[in-house]
């Protein structure tokens, strides 16, 4: 077998194994709850029968490993369980399936992340490559210094500065991103502009710095010196010699930052009251609605693991030394 295929398959298995362990960890979070949480969810007025029925519905009378496989089977079929909220002590059950809660919000979050990625990735690559190209010039110094500053800022700080400038002082954008299924695309983009801009500022900084570092690292290699000695200009050296070898680290940087985006989305969604998965997760953490927290955590973890795996595989595939085995 071609060594690349073998390595890629190995990485895929590693990814699946990680996912398996991660799912166990997320699942066992419900095991760690104190024993009387049924009472806590249903309220003090709940009778013993309602609590017992609730425990039975969660399957707490079955051993843990059977419940784990039930849960995994459910997740694969799109059944993420039932939310804790909306249950009353009297046994009236107005709770909703978690999948129904998450589906529209997941679409919103993906929309926001996608919009950010479309703006941020080309911008970061452009800034990173030009900063490496004009290294140690004022351009490089200004770009580096400003990105170092945005990295140090918490997401909500960037968000509130933008709100102050662009909604309170010069009302250009709405400060609350209230969108729903019926919002037309143009309106949707307009209302999501501020959250997307905030996320862009945060991840462009990371991506640009890592791109610049990846290229500058490559420039220390002997073959670059060889190219220089053969009379290539700085631009030729970077675009023709360094960049083809830099795609692997750059792809890794992009995938890694998209994974970071997954996390950054949580805070930004809360600031702009954007109806996404992150906001739902924070609300569920506050109300301790474990099934929803589990489902959100699983979605975030799967995306994160998938993107990191993708970064790994791109790094392997684009490595010129692996493409031509001896």
């Amino acid at each position: 077998m071609h060594p690349i295929v073998a390595t890629v398959i190995q990485r895929l298995f590693l990814g699946i194994a990680t996912l398996f362990v991660v799912s166990i960890i997320i699942f066992s979070s419900i095991e760690m709850l104190p024993g009387d949480f049924g009472q806590a969810v249903l309220g003090q007025a709940a009778t013993e029968e309602t609590v017992a029925a609730f425990r039975k519905e969660l399957g707490l009378d079955k051993p843990a490993y059977i419940r784990y496989f039930d849960w995994v089977a459910g997740v694969i079929q799109g059944d993420l369980g039932t939310s804790f909220s909306g249950r009353a002590a009297s046994g009236v059950d107005r709770s909703r399936p978690v999948a129904e809660l998450i589906a529209p919000r997941l679409w919103n979050t993906l929309f926001l992340a996608g919009m950010t990625a479309i703006i941020a990735v080309p911008l970061a690559l452009f800034l990173g490559i030009t900063a490496a190209l004009y290294r140690n010039t004022y351009y490089d110094k200004i770009v580096s210094a400003s990105t170092l500053t945005t990295i140090s800022f918490p997401e909500f700080f960037v968000a509130y500065i933008l709100i102050l400038l662009l909604t309170a002082l010069w009302p250009v954008f709405p400060s609350l991103a209230n969108i729903d299924v019926s919002t037309p695309l143009g309106e949707r983009i307009y209302r999501s502009a501020l959250p997307a801009l905030t996320l862009t500022l945060v991840i462009v900084a990371h991506m640009m710095r890592m791109t610049r570092a990846a290229i500058i690292n490559l420039l220390a290699n002997p073959y670059i010196q060889m190219a220089r000695l053969s009379g290539a200009t700085q631009r030729e050296v970077i675009l023709k010699h360094a960049l083809p070898n830099a795609w692997a680290p750059i792809a890794t940087v992009i995938a890694f930052n998209l994974a970071y985006l997954v996390v950054g989305v949580v805070v930004v969604e809360v600031v702009f009251v954007y109806p996404g998965v992150g906001q739902l997760m924070v609300d569920s953490v506050t109300s301790r609605d474990i099934p929803v927290v589990q489902a959100c955590a699983l979605i975030f973890a799967i995306t994160y693991i998938f993107l990191n795996l993708l970064a790994d595989i791109i790094g392997i595939i684009t490595n010129p030394r692996l493409l031509h085995p001896k």
């Binding site: 997401e155 909500f156 102050l164």
Partner: protein
């Protein structure tokens, strides 16, 4: 003329020529050569530490003291106004330095004790212990730490102790990785082997042979990790699941006063109020980053 002065002493002769530099004079020389950004960073950090230690003496009011007028404007009795239930924002900013920075510092130290200790142990014992810890850390790092922290907080509930423990354990994975990777190169050195043959125990080898040789990257990592922990805790508090009221904390202060920003058109100062605690967080992170940058540059010896 006493006896001592006429007597010859080799040590005296050597020391009379070579005035040995004390640690203090070496530090002074180092500081004189430091760049402006690093000096700025160190001054900012010093101010934060001073404010954090002497908070009760500097702050005009108590951190949870409630006054009659909520959302009071700047100036007058309350320098930076009051918040939504009438607490003095200036005092809460000062107490926030103590609470927010203190909790982040304790968490970082704990993360280093756990991660650093296990990392050293794994580097020395390269067999089952290393495998077990490394694979465990791989899995923990596969979940984004903010998400993991949210899951754990929903189970154990939000309190300062839980927050410190959860973030410390999640962040110790990064410290473990770094410590292990730098220590692995030192463990194979001859002097470590010599210590081992001499019969020194694991504790001695960790503390006296390896730790001094891997200190510079760990110190730099401490600064960066502190920033990361600080930002994570601020974010969690901002989300309402971190440090709980009435404790004054910059992250939750931003959230509590966020609605004031809409009044910026009418009163710019009021609009700036929620940005004050946020910029206090940002300023400290920038300062620490500047100092770490200089420290890394200094210890790596790169002349770029």
């Amino acid at each position: 003329m006493s006896q001592e002065q006429t007597a010859y002493s080799a040590t005296d002769e050597v020391t009379s020529f070579l005035d040995k530099r004390t640690a203090w004079s070496r530090t002074k020389i180092l500081l004189r050569k430091s760049p402006a950004t690093a000096r700025f960073g160190m001054i900012v950090i010093a101010i934060y530490i001073f404010v954090a230690i002497f908070a009760p003496w500097i702050a005009p009011y108590g951190e949870a003291e409630v006054f009659a007028q909520p959302y009071a404007p700047w100036g007058g009795e309350h320098l930076l106004g009051t918040d939504q239930i009438g607490r003095d924002i200036y005092s809460r900013m000062i107490y926030g330095a103590r609470n927010t920075v203190g909790i982040a510092l304790v968490t970082t130290i704990l993360a280093f004790v756990i991660g650093g200790g296990l990392g050293l142990a794994a580097a020395i014992n390269r067999s089952w212990l290393d495998q077990l810890l490394s694979r465990g850390v791989d899995v923990l790092m596969a979940i984004p730490s903010l998400i993991f922290a949210l899951v754990l907080l929903s189970i154990f509930g939000s309190s300062a102790i839980n927050l410190i423990l959860i973030i410390a354990i999640l962040d110790s994975t990064r410290v473990f990785r770094l410590t292990r990777s730098v220590a692995v190169n030192v463990v194979v050195m001859d002097y470590v082997e010599a210590a081992r043959l001499r019969g020194e125990g694991l504790g001695w080898i960790m503390r006296r042979e390896i730790l001094p040789n891997i200190l510079p990257p760990l110190v730099a990592e401490f600064g960066l990790r502190f920033c990361f922990v600080f930002l994570t805790i601020a974010a969690l508090s901002f989300l309402g699941v971190g440090i709980q009221p009435p404790t004054a904390d910059w992250g939750s202060m931003v959230r509590e006063n966020a609605s004031l920003i809409q009044f910026a058109q009418y009163d710019l100062k009021a609009g700036l109020t929620p940005l004050l605690p946020a910029s206090a967080i940002a300023l400290l992170t920038v300062a620490v980053n500047f100092v770490v940058d200089w420290f890394l540059h200094h210890t790596s010896g790169i002349k770029d």
